[in-house]
């Protein structure tokens, strides 16, 4: 009896020790102070909503052929399938390559609306992405990295585990090993993507995932990749799949 109890308590200790490894992805939201969580939850207090509103305006802006996003997808984007939005980045059979949500919006604008095309790194592209992604708020991230996506995922995983810059740290060394700990005055998160584009409190603006990685690499005293580059695409695919199952929070509020 005593033996059973001892082994049971031993089992409990072992289980508790194993938990951090087995626990699934944790949203950056869970690392925020209650003040910041309340700010994100409040439609009117969430400063990221300004980008959503700007994106909503652009959604109805006519392209050169007289069509807007709204012409096909509805005034509020209500004809978009939110389940499909949660699956981005996806593999495009037509293009024979993966496409991010922002990339899809830009393709639509160029091909279906007759342009003028938007730069991948432009403010308008980011605002449109923020508005569209916001429509899928509450949906679970559901990125499929099987089949033709597998090599891109593998390449992204490799980059995520590559040391960068004079600081010489890889993404996983902070975000896999030290999430929840303090880096100076900030709490490190797992670096999950479900809140992107996010309103960054320390920046005072909304940033996309690739812009955020650029900030991280700059802090590592590294040379960032270009927004829209193949390396960032690989990283976005790996990091998005890493967030599978988390609810989309766009626009999340983060430090």
């Amino acid at each position: 009896m005593i033996k059973t109890r001892i082994s049971l308590s031993l089992l409990a200790v072992m289980l508790a020790a194993a938990l951090p490894v087995q626990a699934g992805p944790v949203s950056g939201y869970d690392y925020l102070t209650p003040d910041m969580q309340a700010m994100q939850n409040d439609e009117f207090g969430n400063p990221g909503m300004l980008a959503v509103e700007a994106g909503e305006q652009l959604f109805s802006l006519l392209g050169d052929n007289g069509k807007s996003c709204a012409s096909c997808h509805g005034e509020q984007g209500e004809k978009l399938d939110v389940h499909r939005l949660a699956r981005y980045p996806v593999y495009s059979k037509a293009l024979q390559r993966p496409v991010t949500l922002r990339g899809r919006i830009l393709l639509c604008r160029k091909d279906r609306m007759g342009g003028p095309p938007l730069e991948y790194g432009s403010a308008q592209a980011l605002q449109l992405e923020t508005f569209v992604r916001h429509l899928a708020r509450g949906q679970s991230v559901d990125v499929d990295v099987s089949g033709p996506m597998a090599p891109y995922y593998a390449a992204g995983e490799k980059l995520y585990h590559t040391r960068y810059g004079q600081v010489d740290i890889a993404c996983h060394q902070c975000h896999d090993y030290h999430a929840g700990q303090n880096f100076r005055g900030q709490v490190l998160t797992q670096g999950q993507t479900n809140g992107f584009p996010v309103y960054r409190f320390t920046e005072g603006q909304v940033v996309g995932l690739q812009e955020r990685i650029t900030q991280c690499l700059t802090n590592l005293r590294a040379e960032p990749y270009a927004i829209g580059s193949p390396q960032y695409l690989d990283l976005e695919i790996y990091m998005s799949a890493r967030s599978n199952g988390l609810k989309i929070e766009t626009p999340a509020v983060r430090y």
């Binding site: 004079q166 902070c174 880096f183 100076r184 409190f201």
Partner: protein, 160 residues
């Protein structure tokens, strides 16, 4: 870090005017750096000071607390009470001079990854050619100069 204004408007204004604690920033490179001083580690220690330089503890304390130079507080609690924020990725360093020899402290500051490959601690004097994709303006340089490393090591060694 816990800001508690009563209204979100205040938060918005703050976001625009106050700069909260910043992570490591790509500061302007330090003054022209001397040629890289090669070092030799044995038994988890670098016994010889880099370039034979002598460290000054007071300077080392200033470098450790400066977020554009050593930025040690980003990850460590240190006996620098005038600085409010510190991280806890690494262990507190009060008393480190009693726990480690000067040579061991020196190797930790210079290149901890050389004996602990998965450490999150940067190598402040890691050989530049071992680094990947360094910002163009910083290529060929080390984070701290050999003199700065010796200053920091000299100060840490006083923390008994």
């Amino acid at each position: 870090m816990h800001m508690k204004p009563t209204r979100h408007v205040c938060l918005l204004l703050l976001a625009a005017t106050v700069s909260p604690p910043q992570p490591v920033t790509a500061a302007e490179p330090t003054a022209a750096q001397q040629p890289y001083q090669h070092w030799h580690a044995e038994n988890y220690a670098i016994e010889q000071p880099l370039g034979g330089l002598v460290g000054v503890p007071e300077r080392g304390r200033a470098i450790a607390g400066d977020q554009h130079r050593g930025n040690c507080l980003a990850c460590h609690e240190l006996p620098i009470p005038e600085e409010n924020f510190y991280g806890n990725l690494g262990p507190p360093l009060a008393g480190i001079g009693s726990r480690q020899s000067v040579g061991m402290i020196r190797l930790h500051v210079v290149d901890q990854a050389s004996f602990n490959p998965e450490t999150v601690m940067p190598g402040f004097y890691r050989a530049p050619q071992q680094l990947n994709r360094v910002a163009p303006s910083l290529r060929g340089t080390t984070w701290l100069t050999a003199q700065e490393v010796e200053d920091v090591v000299a100060w840490l060694a006083t923390l008994k």
